[in-house]
């Protein structure tokens, strides 16, 4: 983190007003710093989740392997899924929301900068709490979907599920606050002239994602609360003996879980919808259609959840309905893919690493989308359910779609964040090892799945004939691991000694490229006026904007000062939830009292107090 600040200090003398040092980072409420912190934390958890995946792959290298125990295997695949979804994919997108959205719409910060800091700290503490389960040897072990009634105390008596249910509900709080913050920011803090239909696609997809966050997360929150009450206070929500229906869990989980897929993938779509036009030197083909397709995906995403439940016996009417809705959602997604291709068509394409990853996304996500259409059909799904075919499908969607999109965004916006380019040479290595490693890992899973290898199973028999596919997957997994290390090396090295980048590193069209790299802590000295969708591509408009954005203000805009109360509140929220583990109803109240104290101190702290002391 200090690396970025140092280079900032040397590149731009105007940054003298910005404090440096560890404490200033910990107490920061600046959306750009919080974005960087989100990114670094999600990379840390990516390494944790990746390590878990590699252990799984070693175990599956040969039939009847005894490298790890069945119990540990359960913990590994549960934590791998939970980590990658909640601690990597979501927060990594949030890292980009944080850094990029205010810059793209011409805002000085998000609407609630201090709430933003709170979101980050709750995410960090929630993630650490979840992973603390490893240190007591009782990591969650019922898979990331936590189906009832496997999670009941009868079948899961240990602390494993407790960590899972409480950890996830802590993380949900962070996500809902983030959603509220970004919706408000995008509606309310756009620069003059930045109409909704002039916003860059990344901001648009952040907007849609934020709506999905505030609507989907409460549903899983209630499901988790119900599970927690069952486990800690002997409630009956999923107790079959009391007449409860365990399928209720599946409905609530997937009513959240399917929109969650779009929470994950829409930001990636947003990234490449900005990257592809920038490196094709052409405006996005059919901009309004891409926007509406994104909104439509957000809506239809709510009506398809039960395609995860074809095998739970809902009956032919319900199955048919969800087959239809699921197939319909492929249409707006297909529309987007054709729009990206039409944008490239006839463009002056530059295959930078960011562009490579964007194009890679289009290719791999299409594979995942096609296998998705295959098991959107209920009869086909009955065959493929819980096999490695499904594992192949969602990794093509989630790694091939989301992670590649995030990497594309990393190479694209890194010059804005640090004022330096990432190495294109290391980037090429990163890209090709990712592509080779990824396809080698997950493509063979289509076959091992078709041959009958079940997912979430500790080992397999040699008679199944899937050993070769598994060995390919394992080798691919390690190549994917190496690619991540190359990326890490590139980031660390280029942050220090990468080639310097100007304010508009790529000649890209949107507003974030109109300010110095790295940006001042106040982003814009004065708010520029926007007149088109590609303000930096119209010479007169660009000149007018840069006259404002690159100018030295007579008086620097005043920004809210640092605060450590968000950390107090975040630790309080985490502690309150964690204390529920005691199962004694009044013990969490201690944490609640501490949280309440923090909230009051925070609410009555004047964010501009620091300005009085410095004047």
């Amino acid at each position: 983190m200090s690396v970025a600040t140092e280079s900032a200090a040397t590149t731009h003398d105007a940054h003298h007003g910005e404090p440096t040092g560890l404490w200033s980072w910990i107490t920061t409420v600046d959306h750009k710093r919080i974005g960087i912190m989100y990114f670094l934390t999600s990379i840390f958890f990516l390494l944790v989740g990746g390590l878990e995946a590699l252990l799984i792959r070693i175990q599956l290298f040969k039939p009847e392997n005894d490298f790890i125990s069945a119990e540990l295997y359960n913990q590994l695949f549960t934590m791998h899924g939970t980590t990658m979804i909640f601690l990597v994919a979501m927060p990594m997108a949030v890292a980009f929301f944080n850094y990029v959205v205010p810059l793209q719409i011409g805002a000085r910060d998000v609407a609630f900068p201090r709430l933003n800091a709170l979101s980050y700290w709750i995410y960090l503490f929630g993630g650490l709490y979840l992973n603390a389960s490893w240190f007591v040897g009782q990591a969650p072990n019922t898979s990331w979907v936590g189906y009832a009634n496997l999670t009941s105390t009868q079948f899961s008596p240990g602390l494993n599920v407790d960590f899972w249910v409480l950890g996830l509900s802590i993380l949900g709080v962070s996500s809902i606050m983030g959603g509220v913050n970004f919706i408000t920011t995008i509606i309310n803090l756009r620069a003059p002239g930045m109409k909704l239909m002039r916003m860059p696609l990344f901001t648009w997809m952040t907007f849609v994602t934020s709506f999905l966050l505030i609507t989907a997360l409460p549903v899983i929150a209630v499901a988790l609360i119900m599970l927690a009450f069952d486990r800690f206070f002997s409630a009956n929500f999923f107790n079959v003996a009391a007449g409860a229906d365990p399928v209720l869990w599946q409905h609530l989980f997937w009513i959240f879980g399917h929109p969650e897929v779009y929470i994950l993938v829409l930001p990636a779509f947003g990234v490449i919808s900005d990257v592809i036009p920038a490196f094709s030197r052409k405006p996005l083909f059919g901009y309004p259609v891409v926007v509406y397709a994104g909104v439509l995906i957000g809506f239809i995403g709510w009506g398809v959840w039960s395609h995860h439940m074809f095998t739970s016996g809902m009956g032919p009417i319900a199955d048919s309905f969800f087959v239809a809705t699921t197939m319909i959602i492929a249409i707006p997604t297909g529309v987007k893919i054709f729009n990206w291709m039409a944008t490239m068509w006839g463009g002056a394409i530059r295959f930078t690493t960011a562009m490579n990853f964007a194009v890679g996304l289009v290719a791999l996500f299409t594979v995942g989308g096609l296998s998705g259409v295959m098991h959107a059909s209920a009869p086909v799904d009955l065959q493929q359910h819980d096999s490695y075919f499904v594992v192949a499908h969602f990794h093509y969607v989630i790694v091939g779609g989301i992670l590649l999109g995030m990497f594309s965004g990393l190479y694209y916006w890194f010059p804005k964040v640090t004022g330096r380019y990432l190495s294109e040479k290391a980037g090429a290595w990163h890209f090709w090892t990712t592509m080779i490693g990824f396809n080698l890992t997950f493509f063979p899973m289509h076959f091992s799945g078709m041959f009958g290898m079940p997912r979430r199973t500790w080992t397999y028999q040699s008679e199944l004939g899937v050993q070769l596919y598994n060995q390919m997957s394992t080798v691919g997994g390690f190549i994917l691991g190496i690619s991540t290390l190359i990326m890490l090396y590139n980031v660390l090295k280029s942050a220090k000694s990468g080639a310097p980048a100007g304010s508009n590193a790529w000649g890209a069209p949107s507003l974030e490229w109109s300010i110095p790299s790295p940006p001042h802590h106040y982003n814009f000295p004065a708010l520029p006026e926007v007149r088109s969708r590609e303000p930096m591509w119209h010479d007169d408009e660009r000149a007018a904007i840069e006259a404002v954005t690159l100018a030295h203000p007579a008086k620097e805009p005043e920004m809210p000062g640092p605060s450590f109360w968000p950390i107090v509140v975040a630790s309080g929220v985490t502690a309150t939830w964690a204390l529920v583990m005691t199962g004694v109803w009044w013990v969490p109240l201690i944490g609640l009292a501490y949280t309440t104290f923090g909230v009051f101190m925070w609410a009555f702290e004047d964010p501009f107090k620091h300005l009085e002391s410095s004047h």
């Binding site: 805002a107 000085r108 910060d109 998000v110 609407a111 609630f112 900068p113 201090r114 709430l115 809902i176 959603g179 509220v180 913050n181 919706i183 408000t184 509606i187 309310n188 803090l189 756009r190 620069a191 003059p192 930045m194 505030i214 609507t215 989907a216 997360l217 409460p218 549903v219 929150a221 209630v222 499901a223 609360i225 119900m226 009450f229 069952d230 206070f233 002997s234 409630a235 009956n236 929500f237 009391a242 007449g243 409860a244 229906d245 209720l248 609530l252 004065a526 708010l527 008086k555 805009p557 005043e558 920004m559 809210p560 309440t596 009051f600 609410a603 004047d606 964010p607 501009f608």
Partner: protein
């Protein structure tokens, strides 16, 4: 609360819609809360009449009593409107009086709920007794927790008002608390109808 102004500190509180960010953010949060209570209420409805052992809802619910507590809560919404009016006019006595009434009515509602929970428990309906116990206590308990949070919040505003720190320029603070309070009331109307009245 000065935060919304932060981003546009020297741009004359510029927002692209002209709406205040705190109010907009709060409406968004209320939207999110709708899904929260919606899920709890749906669960109650799914499990309605599914309990294998008693007591059942007909055995424990006292509709006249709950009607009174519902009336108390609805009246508190009226008082909330008058309190906001008082703050906006800069009438400290009026605002304190009506804020006080909201707090007392909110606390009275909570008192009814404590009595109700206690009574139900003593006629044999615990959280762990049956599906009714689980879904009823968790749904109304979370609503009660929201009311409690609202009472604490309003008490803070009352103290601020008493210390002369709630001038008309800070009426937005009361307006947002009011939005919250009305939302919690509306949720109770839904709960009262679906849980108590339709059996």
């Amino acid at each position: 609360m000065a935060e919304a102004a932060a981003v546009a500190h020297d741009d004359h509180h510029y927002t692209s819609t002209g709406l205040n960010s705190w109010k907009l953010g709060f409406w968004t949060l209320i939207g999110s809360e709708c899904l929260f209570f919606g899920t709890l209420i749906s669960t109650y409805m799914v499990y309605k009449g599914q309990s294998i052992v008693g007591p059942f809802s007909g055995d424990v619910f006292d509709i006249p009593l709950t009607t009174i507590s519902t009336f108390v809560l609805l009246m508190s919404s009226l008082a909330m409107v008058l309190a906001l009016d008082g703050v906006q006019r800069g009438n400290r006595k009026l605002s304190m009086a009506w804020l006080g009434v909201v707090i007392v009515l909110g606390a009275t509602f909570l008192g009814f709920q404590v009595y109700e929970f206690n009574h139900f428990y003593h006629v044999g309906l615990g959280l762990d007794t049956n599906l009714l116990g689980s879904s009823f206590y968790v749904l109304t308990g979370f609503h009660g927790a929201h009311v409690f949070f609202g009472v604490v919040w309003l008490t803070t505003l009352f103290v601020m008002s008493a210390r002369g720190k709630l001038p008309p320029s800070k009426a937005l603070n009361v307006e947002i608390a009011g939005l919250y309070w009305h939302f919690v009331d509306v949720v109770w109307i839904v709960i009262f109808v679906l849980v108590y009245l339709i059996q």
